[in-house]
């Protein structure tokens, strides 16, 4: 039963991800990407990670993609404006993305999760209580670094939007 659901979800994920890349219309691309994010949330639910699934929907499908669609609608992309990139640029983009994927797989395959004791002791480690404890105990430093990263990018965005005035 679960296996069938997994195959259906994976087919949706891969199919919509592919359609995101190849569709000509930017808005259609964005809508396919939204469906892709929803199927990813479905994968999280299959791991019984309810919190992660819902937060994924709120942040990616609900906020980031809405902002992206918003920008796409404002930009009014027409087919005539679309410049065709040279073949070398396309090839190098695919190649660098592939290398990044390789590095990520290599890094994650050997990764040892810190919460292994929660798994062994049989606690429901997907529940929000345990998740919060793990984030603020074992993973506190990366957690804080992530927040600093977000803060820096936010300040950067504010600075760019203010560049007309003299600061």
């Amino acid at each position: 039963m679960l296996e069938i659901v997994f195959y259906i979800l994976s087919a949706i994920t891969l199919g919509t991800a592919f359609l995101t890349v190849i569709s000509k219309n930017a808005i259609h691309s964005a809508i396919y990407l939204v469906i892709c994010f929803f199927s990813l949330a479905g994968h999280y639910l299959m791991f019984n990670a309810q919190f992660l699934a819902i937060v994924h929907i709120i942040v990616y499908a609900g906020a980031i993609m809405v902002l992206l669609l918003f920008t796409l609608m404002l930009m009014n992309l027409d087919k005539e404006d679309e410049t065709s990139k040279p073949l070398l640029a396309k090839f190098s983009a695919v190649f660098s993305a592939g290398i990044l994927g390789l590095v990520l797989i290599a890094a994650l395959r050997k990764a040892q999760p810190e919460n292994i004791e929660y798994v062994n002791s049989g606690v429901d480690y997907q529940s929000i209580k345990v998740l919060g404890k793990v984030l603020l105990n074992e993973y506190q430093v990366p957690f804080e670094f992530a927040s600093i990263l977000l803060l820096v990018s936010m300040i950067g965005a504010v600075l760019i939007s203010k560049k007309e005035e003299k600061i």
């Binding site: 309810q50 819902i54 609608m73």
Partner: protein, 343 residues
């Protein structure tokens, strides 16, 4: 997973669905009656007693109207828009606790479709994808006024979602749980949340006006600037779905406010009542109490709509980002300090 469980849940789900539809239907009637009352008019009074059959007449009219398609290359997305708006308006009610346990046919039945761990986040998730109905439909209409409306709606919803989420955090700090059932249960013993968190309540209420696209924040369907807003090109039942979804959203947000801040199905002397007349009757009274709270908040939405004029767009953004969000953050800090000092 026995069959009795499936039947029980199906009955609850169908009942909740029917209730949402019924309330959305009669909200359209109530809206006109309230408007008439506030403007010293009579309101609808031809179809049925006091105009009570008016929603049915409206439905029959919308169904028999001509289906008009604008000249758009995206017919599928054009149909998808109202469908998303309607579905997202309906699926939020799945996690709302409508009442306490009742005991029928030798089983304890919980008046809630499902009690998941993260039900508040589920509500926010559904809320955040609700804007797709407006955006996709308006973009597929191929009309620049619709597009302007979609852009307004999406930026407004995203801005107010932040303040809304921050307002809820102080409640979550007190309850220590994300489940709406637990939040209700906490209020049955400790008093309603609105007594402890009046500021969070006010922020949440203001944001809910923006999230449901109601006046004074209905910039997305501002007639004087944007014709009809995002549903300018829609006709027949597709427009009906958009309007209906707005009323369903209003019902749901009134319910969420009642559950989070006004104790849900709790009413004064509930424990004594339970001992005196039994569990089932108490649950029934509890449901009626929740229903009365919901009706009051629906009336409040209408009251505000016919009292306060529309904001200007920059005022709306100013209020959201520069007033409500800082206030919500201050509220979180004060709540944290008070909790550390007194516990």
């Amino acid at each position: 997973m026995d069959s009795a469980f499936i039947i029980e849940k199906s009955v609850v789900i169908v009942a909740v669905f029917a209730l949402t539809m019924f309330m959305a239907m009669y909200s359209t009637w109530a809206e006109r009656k309230v408007a008439a009352f506030l403007q010293d008019r009579v309101g609808p009074n031809r179809a049925g007693w006091g105009g009570l059959l008016q929603p049915l007449a409206d439905g029959a009219k919308l169904f028999t109207k001509e289906e008009f398609f604008p000249n758009t290359p995206n017919r599928f997305l054009f149909i998808l828009g109202p469908a998303i708006a309607m579905s997202t308006a309906l699926i939020t009610s799945a996690v709302i606790p409508w009442g306490d346990k009742i005991h029928v046919f030798g089983r304890d039945v919980v008046l809630q479709a499902t009690d998941i761990d993260v039900s508040i986040l589920y509500v926010f998730g559904v809320l955040s994808i609700g804007v797709y109905g407006i955006m996709i439909g308006a973009w597929a209409s191929n009309n620049k006024y619709s597009l302007m409306s979609a852009v307004r709606a999406s930026s407004q919803m995203i801005s107010y979602e932040v303040a809304m989420g921050l307002a809820i955090i102080s409640i979550l700090m007190m309850s220590g749980s994300l489940s709406l059932k637990d939040i209700t249960e906490m209020q049955t013993t400790g008093g309603w949340n609105v007594l402890y968190q009046p500021l969070a309540f006010i922020i949440f209420l203001i944001c809910s006006f923006a999230e449901t696209n109601r006046t004074p924040f209905d910039l997305a369907e501002c007639e004087s600037e944007l014709i009809g807003g995002y549903h300018t090109e829609y006709s027949s039942m597709k427009m009906g779905f958009y309007l209906f979804a707005e009323y369903a959203n209003m019902f749901i947000s009134a319910t969420i406010i009642s559950v989070i801040f006004f104790g849900g199905y709790h009413f004064p002397f509930m424990a004594e009542c339970k001992e005196a007349i039994g569990m089932n009757l108490t649950a029934l009274i509890g449901f009626l109490a929740l229903f009365a709270k919901i009706c009051f908040f629906i009336f409040f939405y209408m009251w505000v709509r016919w009292t306060i004029p529309r904001f200007r767009y920059d005022q709306l953004m100013h209020l959201g980002w520069k007033i409500l969000i800082p206030l919500a953050v201050i509220n979180i800090i004060v709540t944290g300090i008070v909790m550390v000092l007194f516990n």
